[in-house]
């Protein structure tokens, strides 16, 4: 009997408590920078696409929502001919970001991707590409890579040794 009255009183007291509801569209929660939301393709400091079309993200994707086709320009620089993410399948797991060797594919703190038409959730490369460098500013994959793709000559890269002259005996 007493416990019934007590629980009624405790519920009544809740009238003066702070409300826990966050009124979402007007008030937005803080999202940490590493929040896994919408997927973007970033560019390197030279404003070139970072993606080299290695297919690792498509392989890592557990729901197979990424499809792409690699191509190569006259300098030998690889890039994606098309890059398509079906966000109606994407589960925002971030495996593609982990798999990416060039830090091109990144997940950003934005999740508001509601659409009336399901087809609009399929993002093409031009929808995915952004102008910035994302979470890793200053990183340029082709500066580190051992290949000459028009960015730098072979052996000119950061922390890269000169190529070994195989015609010589000297080390």
């Amino acid at each position: 009997m007493f416990s019934i009255l007590r629980s009624i009183w405790l519920t009544f007291i809740h009238m003066f408590h702070k409300r826990v509801t966050v009124e979402y569209p007007e008030k937005k929660n803080y999202l940490p920078p590493r929040h896994r939301g919408r997927i973007v393709l970033t560019r390197d400091p030279d404003n070139q696409e970072r993606c080299v079309g290695c297919y690792l993200c498509a392989v890592a994707c557990p729901v197979d929502c990424i499809s792409l086709q690699a191509t190569e320009d006259e300098n030998g620089r690889r890039s994606a001919e098309f890059f398509r993410i079906n966000f109606s399948r994407c589960i925002l797991c971030g495996y593609c970001e982990e798999a990416c060797p060039t830090d091109a594919i990144q997940l950003i703190p934005d999740f508001e991707m509601a659409e009336y038409n399901r087809q609009n959730l399929v993002y093409e490369k031009e929808d995915l590409l952004i102008d910035g460098q994302g979470k890793y500013p200053g990183y340029n994959f082709f500066k580190h890579a051992g290949v000459d793709a028009g960015v730098k000559a072979k052996g000119e890269g950061i922390d890269e040794e000169k190529p070994v002259d195989i015609k010589k005996l000297m080390p």
């Binding site: 629980s7 009624i8 519920t11 009544f12 009238m15 826990v20 509801t21």
Partner: protein, 319 residues
């Protein structure tokens, strides 16, 4: 002639007002429940979400009104109407103010008891005609619960009848001048209120429709406006029990003169309605047999004792 027309207008006005209050209670309950659960509740449509009622009504009117092929069609259609009719008829004897009221019946209280016992049919027939095992279990529970609690409801009111010496609701209110009946009849007041919760099948005594066990109990198969009638009927039931508690135990329209009588009535009634909602927010649902045990082993002897003691005191002091 003009008198009759005025009276008809008054009756229609009261009915519309009650249905409006009942519909508004849907919004009020959602808001206040949210308040007690640290939420906001519907606050998007209109000012503080008050237009939510309109939205709900539009939705419920345009829903498919489906009658299951395995149901007993006639009874299935009639059942929700019985609920609405019996509750709205009960309001006929409630005196809102000295002027506002449908009839001045000298057996008003008995009429109320008769109509409230009639509401049980609606639930039982709805459950039976749905031809569904969950509905049937809900109906069986509702029948046992409502029949048992009618007994204590009637008995708990006998103290009021003895003190005022009348079954007429107006006389009962007038007999409370200077001393509201909830002071001498505190036990009766508590028993009547508990029985009222059980009669309206409100939480915590919503055993007939217990969602976690019986889908939605007796109205599992109902949809569209037929469900709407059950829904509004429940809120009308709350309003009825609150109005009756106000008239019988809290002096009806009586109150200090700085407010008109109707305001006093509405203030007291809404206080009880809010208490109904608070109960819903705070108490868990007992088991069916616990409810029966509470009724027959605690409330029944207590209400008998109340009748006995009140009768003895009335005889000793007045005669």
């Amino acid at each position: 002639m003009i008198d009759i027309l005025l009276h008809i207008a008054l009756v229609i006005g009261i009915m519309l007002g009650l249905v409006m209050i009942a519909a508004g209670l849907i919004w009020l309950e959602r808001r206040t429940l949210a308040l007690w659960q640290d939420r906001y509740g519907p606050n998007r449509t209109g000012l503080f979400g008050t237009l939510q009622v309109v939205a709900d009504m539009i939705k419920i009117f345009f829903k498919e009104d489906w009658i299951p092929p395995f149901a007993d069609k006639k009874i299935f259609v009639v059942a929700p109407a019985i609920l609405m009719i019996s509750i709205l008829l009960s309001f006929a004897v409630v005196p809102f103010t000295p002027l506002i009221g449908v009839v001045n019946l000298n057996i008003g209280l008995l009429f109320f008891l008769g109509m409230s016992s009639f509401g049980a049919y609606s639930i039982v027939l709805a459950g039976w005609s749905s031809n569904n095992k969950y509905s049937l279990i809900g109906a069986v529970r509702a029948a046992s619960q409502m029949i048992s609690y009618e007994v204590f409801m009637g008995l708990s009111l006998m103290g009021v009848v003895m003190l005022s010496g009348s079954f007429n609701m107006r006389d009962i209110v007038l007999a409370q001048q200077g001393r509201w009946f909830f002071i001498p009849q505190f036990l009766g007041f508590i028993i009547f209120f508990i029985a009222g919760i059980a009669e309206t099948r409100r939480l915590p005594f919503d055993i007939p429709e217990a969602e976690s066990e019986l889908v939605a109990g007796y109205h599992s198969e109902y949809s569209g406006m037929k469900f709407g009638m059950f829904f509004v009927g429940e809120y009308l039931g709350i309003t009825l029990i609150s109005a009756m508690t106000t008239t019988l135990f809290l002096g009806g329209w009586l109150g200090p003169a700085f407010l008109p009588p109707i305001f006093w009535f509405l203030i007291k009634m809404f206080a009880f309605i809010l208490f109904f909602i608070l109960l819903r927010a705070s108490l868990p649902r007992p088991r069916s047999d616990q409810l029966m045990a509470l009724g027959w082993k605690v409330l029944f002897p207590l209400s008998m004792l109340n009748v006995l003691v009140t009768g003895a005191l009335v005889l000793y002091f007045k005669l």
